[in-house]
């Protein structure tokens, strides 16, 4: 503790250089925090995906539909606990930029399949009583400032109505919260029975199935059994774990995790050079002072510690400011204005940021610190 004053005083030596270095590090950590939140938004579905859930879709592609009759057949397969279908509705609320997922589902099946959706019994009952009712996530409701009882018009892009109209009107009767922080609360669930009766075509067809299995360790066997059940039929299936399905869906945009990691690696490598250069200059300029410290009794290890301490101080100030600002920016809302299912900086990544601060300080400071440690007093005092 008594050396803090010495360490922080040394940082005041070249205020502009120290300030610029701190700002560089700060920018790197802002990027780290913000990009981590974006990666989290893409990965959230994968992370909260149930290990005991499979997704079964058409073997050709997700947009090919499957018969509703598959549900009963799947539920007869050994290891299958329950199956529930969903369909992509793909409508537009007011304007195309207001994107969010809308899916017709069977309410009872949804309640059973997704225990992480927290809904009051009263609102469950209201949805079951209202054929045009919808269940929406809290995040989506907040995004558009909806209230229970609102009538929400959605313009269909895929599913026209029997009456020739393309505007569907739904009643907001229930809202769900996420049991976990990463639970997607940006979805809009329509009742399948209402949807199936009202749509102009495609009756009896669904988009995909979510299948709950009794033993997650047997996911591969059950998936193979499902695919085998429908092999050589008109609509063959592809069954896979929910996490893999969501990951594959996200990967349609690109390998977001890899892209973000690449950007962050480049940023951190550059900043490491900046911080390392600062520390190298700091030590080179102070050869004489460091020799004096040794002359008056500081040990080699003590001087090494002081230089590493300075490196840590610079990196910590910049890194902590960066993480703090990133947290602030993330808490101000997602950059897509609500299209991300979740957008937050996980606590574990904040800790990872702190670890990165220490690692960066060590790498940037160790070479100059070792030079300072090896400094020969008599030689250095003669310079």
């Amino acid at each position: 503790m008594k050396y803090f004053y010495l360490i922080f005083s040394s940082l005041k030596r070249k205020k502009i250089r120290t300030g610029l270095t701190i700002m560089s590090i700060m920018v790197a950590f802002i990027l780290f925090g913000y990009l981590t939140a974006i990666r989290q938004a893409f990965d959230a579905g994968v992370e909260v995906a149930g290990a005991d859930r499979l997704i079964v879709r058409h073997k050709v592609s997700l947009i090919q539909l499957l018969p509703q009759s598959y549900e009963a057949k799947m539920e007869r397969i050994d290891g299958v606990d329950n199956a529930a279908h969903s369909t992509w509705f793909g409508g537009i609320y007011q304007e195309p930029k207001n994107f969010f997922a809308q899916m017709p589902v069977v309410p009872e099946e949804l309640f059973d399949m997704y225990p992480e959706f927290v809904i009051s019994d009263e609102q469950k009952a209201a949805w079951l009583e209202t054929r045009s009712g919808v269940l929406v996530g809290r995040g989506l409701m907040d995004r558009f400032d909806w209230k229970l009882g609102d009538r929400i018009p959605i313009n269909a892009t895929i599913w026209g109505k029997k009456d020739g109209g393309r505007t569907w009107e739904f009643d907001l009767v229930a809202v769900y919260d996420g049991a976990e922080k990463g639970t997607d609360t940006s979805q809009f669930f329509i009742r399948y029975d209402f949807f199936d009766e009202t749509r102009a075509n495609g009756q009896g067809l669904v988009g995909w199935y979510t299948v709950r299995i009794s033993d997650p360790d047997k996911a591969a066997e059950v998936a193979a059994a499902i695919d085998a059940e429908f092999a050589n039929s008109a609509q063959e299936t592809k069954a896979e774990p929910e996490g893999a399905f969501i990951q594959g869906f996200a990967n349609q945009i690109g390998n977001i995790g890899f892209i973000i990691m690449s950007i962050m690696s480049a940023v951190f490598f550059t900043i490491l050079l900046v911080a390392g250069n600062t520390m190298a200059y700091t030590v080179r300029e102070r050869t004489n002072e460091l020799a004096v410290l040794k002359a008056i009794g500081f040990t080699d290890q003590g001087v090494l510690g002081l230089v590493l301490g300075e490196s840590l101080a610079i990196t910590f100030v910049g890194g902590a400011l960066g993480l703090g600002l990133a947290w602030l920016l993330v808490s101000m809302g997602d950059p897509t204005d609500g299209s991300f299912p979740v957008f937050y900086l996980p606590t574990s990544d904040l800790f990872l940021g702190l670890v990165l601060i220490v690692v960066m300080a060590f790498i940037a400071g160790i070479v100059p610190a070792l030079q300072a440690q090896k400094l020969q007093i008599a030689d250095a005092l003669r310079r």
Partner: protein
């Protein structure tokens, strides 16, 4: 070791060689040098540039090690101490005064003087108190909060002396302490060193080029080509 007994030998340098290597070339700076310094002496070391004065001072202060021979201070062989033990020994027993003061520009005079005390177990308030006393001894109490750049050369050197004496060291090693000062400031520094020697019994070894400064010492030795003599070099 801190007893002010003038008959006791405090520093004993025996058969010391110091060889510097520059690439394949060997430079013999000191050769078979012997020197005894009694406790409480104020010794001036004179000699031309490159004669080895500062090298000898560094060996006595444990800042460097001899190539051959032994250096004893207070009966202890310091040339055989490990780096860590030597650093601790310097912190406890040696006060250093440099020609160019070598103060930390980012620390106030008070904090500069406190620096050696960081290596002790003293509390913050005790460190502050001792540094204030040292500054008072050198007559700089009123400049304690000033940074080196705000002090004159003489004041900076007095701060350097306060830093050197704050741990109450056995030995005070001064490498051309007046070399960067005008005559008036130089005299003030020499007055101060003399007072520390006479009133507080500090053993002082001072390297100087200045015969006027050497006159203040109780003994003057001349170093030339690695050998000591009482007579000046021609």
């Amino acid at each position: 070791m801190t007893d002010n007994n003038s008959s006791e030998t405090l520093v004993k340098v025996s058969s010391v060689d110091k060889i510097f290597k520059r690439g394949s070339e060997e430079i013999h700076v000191l050769g078979g040098l012997d020197l005894d310094i009694p406790n409480g002496e104020f010794l001036a070391l004179m000699g031309p540039s490159g004669s080895g004065k500062s090298t000898l001072l560094n060996l006595i202060g444990g800042l460097d090690r001899p190539s051959e021979g032994t250096v004893e201070v207070g009966g202890k062989r310091i040339d055989k101490l490990s780096d860590r033990k030597l650093a601790a020994w310097r912190a406890r027993h040696v006060g250093l005064v440099f020609q160019f003061y070598n103060l930390m520009p980012v620390l106030t005079a008070q904090k500069n003087v406190e620096l050696p005390l960081l290596l002790t177990k003293l509390s913050k308030s005790e460190r502050k108190k001792r540094a204030s006393i040292a500054l008072d001894i050198v007559g700089l109490s009123h400049r304690a909060g000033h940074y080196p750049r705000q002090l004159s050369g003489g004041e900076q050197q007095r701060t350097g002396i306060a830093r050197a004496i704050v741990t109450d060291p056995t030995l005070l090693l001064c490498d051309e302490p007046t070399g960067d000062l005008d005559r008036k400031s130089g005299d003030e520094i020499l007055d101060l060193l003399q007072a520390l020697n006479k009133e507080q019994g500090k053993t002082i070894i001072m390297v100087t080029h200045d015969i006027h400064a050497a006159d203040r010492a109780s003994r003057t030795l001349h170093l030339n080509k690695g050998q000591l003599s009482v007579d000046p070099v021609d």
